[in-house]
Symmetry: C2
Subunit: 310 residues, 2 copies
């Protein structure tokens, strides 16, 4: 058995307070690793899965990474190739950190690297999105885009994957806490009204616009004023015990903004420097430890690389 | 009687397809002129109004320009000054081109110039917004901001007037046609549902974000893809006969986008150069002249100056 190659795709924070379904950024860690190698036996197979507590299927068509890889191989006319994948989940499921997106991104990345990069990352994206879709049901790239490509991405239109990388001011840090509470993405979707008041819609889009202008102009205060979710957070916060306690504590530490990561229960904050990001992390941990809830904490800059060959 | 000074404040296009109540830009023409001069008789008076067909009140408190000027004088502690204003309306009412905003902008501008510029334009804005508010009822700056300050402005939050000037790619031209149809702003507001689907809200904010990114990156095609109003235009278009005929004709000429200016009935298009802007104008005129509707046409770059001393 040859050693093969190993790729990594990072976790990501979707929505980012003001860009529900259309905005996300990649973290430096955690993330998933996939090892890929050629084999004599034709066809794509998943030969090993670790870190998934038996929750992930070995059937290629039902596995996020497998399906993404398969769709890419079909596109490349390479379905006859013998390829084995080992999936090493190194991040939590159902955390709101884009776990399935990381697997899908790693799935296309490993195939592309094995085949000596026939496609650019931009060209890989649609296949990764197809992979995540089988986990999530929706065709959107707010997690899988950043996980694959890196950076903070605005997806103007998910249907056509018209995405754009936003400039990130130096020093911007993300702090993310994953409290060990279970929320199903489905429940997190169901709690949302399918209607929004026109007034809130205007406010939210003003804030999204403000965030983007703040990023382009390196206007940290404007970024802070803009990171206010008036639509999704008020509806989802009740699913996360102590959410507002965490947010209050975080904002007192000088974070620019704090909201729910993806569908939750993870909570993210953005800070203007690493010192504040660390203090924010400590404040987050204290609220949950006082409430006897276990957590995992991640502090990182915006990951500009996305999925990489290790 | 001394000659006094004369200021000009331009018309403006609010909403700009994707920024209902929070986005607007100034045109080079038409606009309003106000002459201001000191007088021996204490207090602010409006001594002359032309071009308004008797529709504008001489009472300072009821007149958009007068009220804005009065509020500014109160702020400056200068209410005892004898000041006369002549208001020369040089643009149509109820056209969707920010007529009352132009008057309000000119009102604060003329006072500030008479008093040797005690305030910056940014500082003048709240008083101009108060002036427009008596005509329009709402405290928002999407017309009066551009009319006073110039450029294309994103108002992140109208309450705090947190506004930002957007970069404008060289060559960007606006074509605006005012068909002689009467729509009351009130009716144009009443036709709007106060609810939006979450899906449309996401789409619209993606387009606003796309427009802003396109402006920062000078990505003309992205600007074009982004100028799609999925919320307001579909509801208001029915108030403007032949709107979709105009839009179709305009898009065939190569415009980047076309939608309703403010509350209508004026229709604006943005084009990547002056030649297309001219062709767009001709196409707009043809639709209305075939329908025997009189029009006024304005073609200009984005006015970067806003209100000026003539």
């Amino acid at each position: 058995m040859n050693a093969g190659i190993k790729v990594f795709a990072p976790a990501s924070v979707a929505n980012v307070a003001v860009g529900f379904d259309i905005l996300g950024f990649a973290l430096e860690k955690p993330g998933d690793e996939i090892i890929g190698r050629f084999s004599d036996k034709p066809g794509l197979r998943i030969t090993k899965i670790t870190g998934a507590k038996g929750k992930l299927p070995y059937e290629v068509e039902k596995n996020t990474a497998g399906f993404a890889a398969m769709k890419l191989l079909e596109h490349l006319g390479e379905t006859g190739r013998g390829i084995e994948l080992e999936i090493h989940k190194k991040m939590p499921f159902g955390s709101g950190l884009g776990s399935s997106a990381a697997s899908a991104a790693a799935g296309v990345m490993v195939i592309n690297e094995l085949l000596k990069r026939p496609l650019t990352k931009r060209e890989l994206l649609p296949f990764a999105v197809l992979g995540e879709q089988i986990a999530d049901g929706a065709y959107h790239a707010d997690n899988v885009g950043p996980s694959l490509i890196g950076g903070m991405l605005l997806i103007r239109d998910n249907k056509t994957l018209d995405f754009h990388r936003l400039p990130i001011p130096k020093g911007l840090y993300a702090t993310v806490i994953y409290p060990h509470i279970e929320i199903l993405t489905k429940d997190s979707r169901n709690v949302l009204s399918d209607q929004v008041s026109l007034k809130q819609s205007i406010q939210q889009s003003g804030n999204l616009a403000g965030l983007i202008i703040g990023l382009y102009n390196t206007d940290i205060e404007l970024i802070g004023r803009s990171l206010q979710d008036v639509i999704i957070e008020p509806q989802r916060a009740k699913l996360i015990p102590h959410f507002y306690d965490v947010k209050d504590a975080v904002m007192k530490e000088g974070a620019l903004g704090c909201s729910i990561s993806g569908a939750g229960p993870s909570i993210f904050a953005l800070s203007p420097n690493s010192l504040i990001a660390e203090n924010v992390g400590t404040a987050m941990q204290k609220v949950f430890s006082d409430a006897k809830i276990n957590t995992e904490l991640f502090i990182s800059q915006i990951n500009q690389e996305g999925a990489i060959l290790l």
